[in-house]
């Protein structure tokens, strides 16, 4: 991965992390604030319903008081104080009175606690009324004595908000127990804020009964999930709150406040105490009668507004964050490009230097560390050029010296026989003129032979010195290989103990190269391989691609080379052969190098040697101009 990409990733990751952290922090803070505000709103709604409930209790009390103060009740109370009153006359009176005051429940109860008239269950006359006959006091749950009571009706029990008042005309009091149903009708009269709903659980059974859970339309459907909340309130008789997850969508969640509605426990067996308590109702209401759970008011507030607001905030935050990240990435791109441009230039220059182009320069654009680095690089390349020049100079000197030494050595060998032959001729001329003719012929033959030898030596050196620059053109390497093998075909036929194996790539790209020079280089390698297998063996030539390069390998199964020999193999004039000049592989290396390629050797003793040439399809840039 490039430095620029790393830098870009680093910048992007840093920005992303910052955005995420900031977004999470903001979201958490907003969510907390929303939750708190929502909780306060839900509490306010619950408090509103408590207040509403109290107000409805006051309404019931007022209505019952109104009935008690009415002329009809006063007349009935007066009649009851007369001895021969037929209480059956009043059996339908309660229904009429209840209708006038819009009360759902109203019972007229005589001083013995016997129902004279019942609006809600007309047939109940003559039965005792537990709220009057109970030993416990009439309730004090509601304001001014309103209380919750379970009321038995022909079609089953129900829940009501009741109040008890006394119409006292003579000795015998007349009790009035009036109330309103606590059911869906009651719920429908409540002022319910938008997004809120109210359910009422009538605790009329010993176990959870879904039919007792009412909404505005009657028994609420699909509310079994509330059962646990109701059960908790039934167990503790304390307010409780729970989030109900209706669906997998959290926007459908509702927060339910469960408010226990309690009422007094009436005991129908102790009548006198009840009478006493009702006679002193104000005192009785403070008596603290034991309470039981009559119902549970469930105020549900939808979390949809909250969730949708949160989602809107999250969407906005994600949009802003995304835009920020995009801007940050773009800025990172620009910044990374700006920061890494000198580095990239430096790397490019370094690659060119590594490839041999010591003339590569880096433009110094700044005065910071990167500018200093670029300047140092330029100085280094200049030093390298100078060093190379010096080395080249030294190598040239060394080469000249080596050349001189080799020339001296090569020339010295034929010169000695020439000198000896000439001295022999001179000596024969002086001391044995009769043998001069014979010696002359022998001597001139030797001289000519040595002179030929000198010509050969001079020709080789001349040839090496005349290595031309490559004349590039599209070249198919496989064709070059085949032409080389055709050259050696006859020779290899003679030495039939050498088998030739060619593994040429079916598809090989053309390269830009000088086919004659390549032919010459491969010819040297094949010749070396043949020389390395005097006892016969196998010559293998392979071609193939290696990335954007073409590879040629020439392998023999000869005796192989030592590591030291491998290290010095391409040194000019180094040879392992008795009569070699040590220029063959130097020529090969020179050709390969001139094509921008490289040559390597792998050898295992007693197994053979492989020369591997890699040539680029296109010449390196610094050679293009030269071409």
């Amino acid at each position: 991965m490039s430095f620029r990409k790393k830098l870009l990733l680093l910048f992007a990751a840093t920005v992303l992390l910052c955005v995420v952290v900031i977004s999470a922090s903001v979201y958490s803070t907003i969510q907390r604030s929303f939750e708190q505000a929502y909780q306060e709103r839900a509490n306010a709604v619950a408090a509103q319903f408590r207040s509403e409930f109290q107000r409805r209790g006051s309404d019931v009390v007022r209505k019952v008081e109104s009935v008690a103060a009415g002329e009809t009740v006063q007349r009935i109370a007066l009649d009851l104080n007369r001895s021969a009153t037929d209480s059956g006359e009043y059996v339908s009176a309660a229904r009429t009175l209840a209708g006038q005051q819009q009360l759902d429940f109203l019972e007229l109860v005589d001083s013995r606690g016997t129902i004279l008239s019942s609006a809600q269950w007309q047939a109940k006359f003559g039965y005792p009324e537990a709220a009057v006959t109970s030993a416990t006091t009439p309730p004090s749950a509601g304001p001014a004595g309103a209380f919750l009571k379970r009321e038995e009706l022909p079609d089953g029990p129900t829940l009501g908000l009741f109040a008890v008042r006394v119409a006292r005309v003579g000795e015998q009091p007349l009790y009035l127990i009036g109330g309103e149903r606590l059911d869906q009708g009651f719920l429908s009269t409540l002022d319910i804020p938008a997004g809120t709903r109210v359910l009422l659980y009538q605790n009329l059974d010993t176990k959870w009964n879904p039919k007792s859970l009412l909404d505005l339309n009657g028994p609420a459907a699909g509310v079994d999930k509330i059962a646990s909340l109701v059960a908790r309130v039934r167990d503790t008789q304390q307010e409780s709150q729970s989030v109900i997850h209706w669906t997998s969508d959290s926007a459908d969640d509702e927060v339910f406040h469960a408010i226990p509605l309690t009422g007094p426990v009436f005991n129908a067996t102790n009548q006198s105490a009840a009478n006493q308590s009702l006679l002193n109702q104000s005192t009785a209401n403070q008596g603290g009668a034991s309470q039981q759970l009559m119902g549970v008011l469930l105020v549900g507030s939808s979390r949809r507004p909250l969730i949708e607001l949160q989602r809107q905030v999250v969407s906005t935050a994600m949009l802003v964050g995304g835009a920020g990240i995009l801007v940050a990435v773009l800025a990172s791109l620009w910044f990374a490009a700006r920061v890494t441009r000198p580095v990239v230039s430096l790397a490019e220059a370094a690659r060119r230097v590594a490839a041999g182009d010591l003339g590569a320069k880096v433009e110094v654009e700044s005065s910071d560390e990167l500018g200093e680095l670029a300047a140092s690089f330029n100085r280094m390349t200049e030093d390298l050029v100078q060093q190379k020049d010096r080395t080249l100079q030294a190598e040239r000197v060394a080469a000249w010296r080596e050349l001189a030494r080799r020339l001296a050595h090569e020339l010295k060998n034929p010169l000695f026989p020439l000198q000896v032959t000439v001295e022999n001729l001179m000596r024969a001329k002086l001391k044995s003129p009769e043998m001069f003719e014979e010696v002359f012929h022998e001597g001139t033959a030797t001289l000519l032979a040595e002179i030929d030898n000198l010509k050969t030596i001079i020709g080789r050196f001349s040839e090496f010195s005349r290595m031309p620059q490559p004349q590039r053109r599209p070249t198919q390497v496989n064709d070059v290989v085949r032409s080389v093998l055709r050259v050696f075909h006859a020779q290899l036929q003679e030495k039939n103990r050498i088998a030739v194996r060619t593994e040429l790539a079916d598809v090989l790209p053309e390269i830009s190269a000088d086919p004659d020079l390549l032919h010459r280089a491969l010819q040297n390698l094949v010749l070396n391989a043949i020389d390395a297998m005097p006892q016969g063996g196998e010559l293998t030539i392979r071609t193939g691609t290696l990335g954007d390069r073409v590879e040629i390998s020439v392998s023999d199964t000869g005796s192989g080379l030592t590591q030291e020999e491998c290290a010095r193999l391409f040194t000019p004039y180094y040879t392992t052969k008795p009569h070699g000049t040590g220029l063959g592989l130097a020529i090969v290396q020179s050709v390969v190098s001139d094509h921008g390629g490289k040559i390597s050797v792998e050898s295992t003793e007693e197994k053979g040697t492989t020369f591997r040439i890699e040539l680029p399809c296109e010449p390196p840039p610094w050679q293009t101009g030269q071409n």
């Binding site: 037929d86 209480s87 006359e89 059996v91 269950w121 007309q122 047939a123 006359f125 022909p154």
Partner: protein, 468 residues
């Protein structure tokens, strides 16, 4: 002069005289002038009251179940009670002028009872049957044996004190006094009966003097009688039975459950409060005035015993239905449900769905207990009571038959109820029948007269009531 006018007016107000139209209101709205099949008690009484003014039976039974002559003046039967012969009143004519001859009477009776062999002789009608007919006299006194012919419009033509003058089905019936009635011309010239009036509307109309004679709920009549009103209120003997009847598919199949329900019901508060003292708590089908042994069937509640009886028996929730046209039926049914709940029986009062128990009122149409028991059993859906074939209404047989009808608590009698009428002060000499009818033995609508100026001005001769 002034004194004479005053005396004339005083006489007109206190002495019976002819003339005037008696305005009557009834609840039912019949489409035809005939006794309806499966009628409610109100429909039955309205039809009986109407038709008994038009037609006559061969004989009538008084409140003591004694036969009284009507179109037949004498009768006799053989020992097996299979052969009966009735001597007809002479000179009686139908409203269309035809003679009420033995042949005509035999033809009518033969059409009503196809299983009888009815034969006419010169002035008598013979009735024969393959089976003994010990209760034939009571049967012939029933309203279904009114001797009526039908004209081309299907209107009844009888021998009664009034003839049909105008008929608007379901709305109005105008009857005119039959001048040649064998019992003498009625005092009033006409009777105008409006149908389809609720008891409340009838009561209001009576208070406003828009009608002269109405029906009344027994409890209203009883309550009003206790308070005293200007209207003349009358109650008959208890001639109806209010009872709980278990349907054929009732879930209360266990007799113990039925017995427990019977023991749980406290009839007295219902009778005293809801029925305002009218009627009598009942545990038997027949009222005590018919049988004399009514006290044998105890109507006292016994919740403790009910709970004991109920122990171990299945206790399904029972659905109790009632006649919604009966204004008191719902609250009585609810009271029964309340009583049942006290002992642990769940009874739900409802008009919808399959009923287990029905709160019914049935008519006891005859003062003859055997006939009423038979008719009551038919209306209640009970098996016909078994009477010995060869003897009459011996008390022991009657008791055993009634006992048999009550076996297994297939029916729980609750009350024996009277029927009631109310007439305004304009109606004089109103002697309502003790059996709830308007033309029974000793009591007839034809005997009343109207004390208004219109009646006085029309009255030419003013015969004494007994002179007819």
């Amino acid at each position: 002069m002034t004194l004479m006018i005053a005396l004339t007016n005083a006489t007109a107000e206190t002495r019976p005289h002819y003339g005037g139209t008696l305005r009557v209101m009834l609840q039912s709205a019949p489409d035809t002038l005939a006794l309806p099949e499966n009628a409610t008690p109100a429909e039955y009484w309205d039809a009986v009251r109407t038709l008994s003014l038009v037609g006559d039976t061969l004989l009538k039974l008084d409140a003591q179940s004694r036969p009284q002559p009507a179109l037949a003046v004498a009768w006799q039967n053989d020992a097996s009670a299979r052969h009966w012969q009735f001597t007809l009143r002479r000179g009686v004519k139908f409203h269309d002028g035809s003679a009420a001859s033995a042949a005509a009477i035999a033809q009518i009776l033969g059409a009503i009872h196809s299983n009888w062999n009815v034969r006419a002789s010169a002035d008598s009608v013979a009735i024969e049957s393959e089976t003994p007919m010990p209760s034939l006299l009571a049967e012939l006194a029933l309203p279904r044996n009114l001797l009526l012919k039908r004209n081309g419009n299907g209107l009844p033509i009888g021998t009664g004190p009034f003839l049909v003058a105008e008929w608007q089905p379901g709305k109005l019936l105008k009857l005119a006094a039959y001048e040649e009635s064998w019992a003498g011309r009625p005092f009033v010239d006409a009777v105008e009966i409006e149908f389809g009036k609720s008891l409340r509307d009838q009561a209001i109309a009576l208070e406003l003097d828009k009608t002269d004679l109405i029906e009344a709920a027994p409890q209203v009549a009883s309550g009003s009688r206790r308070h005293g009103t200007s209207s003349s209120l009358s109650l008959s003997l208890p001639v109806e039975l209010m009872a709980l009847v278990f349907s054929a598919n009732s879930k209360a199949r266990d007799p113990r459950l039925r017995e427990a329900l019977a023991l749980a019901i406290d009839r007295k508060p219902i009778q005293s409060v809801l029925l305002k003292g009218a009627g009598e708590p009942a545990a038997g089908i027949l009222p005590n005035w018919m049988t004399g042994y009514g006290a044998v069937f105890s109507a006292q509640p016994n919740p403790q015993r009910a709970q004991t009886v109920l122990a171990g028996s299945p206790q399904p929730a029972l659905k109790l239905s009632y006649d919604p046209r009966d204004p008191q039926a719902q609250v009585i049914a609810e009271r029964i449900a309340l009583n049942a709940r006290e002992v642990g029986i769940t009874v739900q009062v409802s008009l919808s769905g399959a009923e287990d128990i029905r709160l019914m009122r049935v008519v006891l149409p005859s003062p003859d207990p055997a006939t009423s028991l038979t008719e009551a059993a038919r209306q209640l859906g009970l098996p016909q009571p078994g009477f010995p074939a060869t003897r009459g209404n011996a008390l022991d047989d009657l008791y055993q038959a009634e006992r048999g009808s009550l076996h297994g608590f297939a029916v729980i009698p609750l009350f024996h109820l009277p029927v009631a009428n109310a007439a305004n002060a304009r109606v004089r000499d109103w002697q309502p029948g003790r059996l709830g009818e308007w033309n029974e033995a000793g009591f007839s609508l034809a005997d009343l007269w109207l004390a208004d100026r219109l009646a006085d001005s029309r009255g030419g001769s003013r015969p004494e009531a007994g002179s007819r």
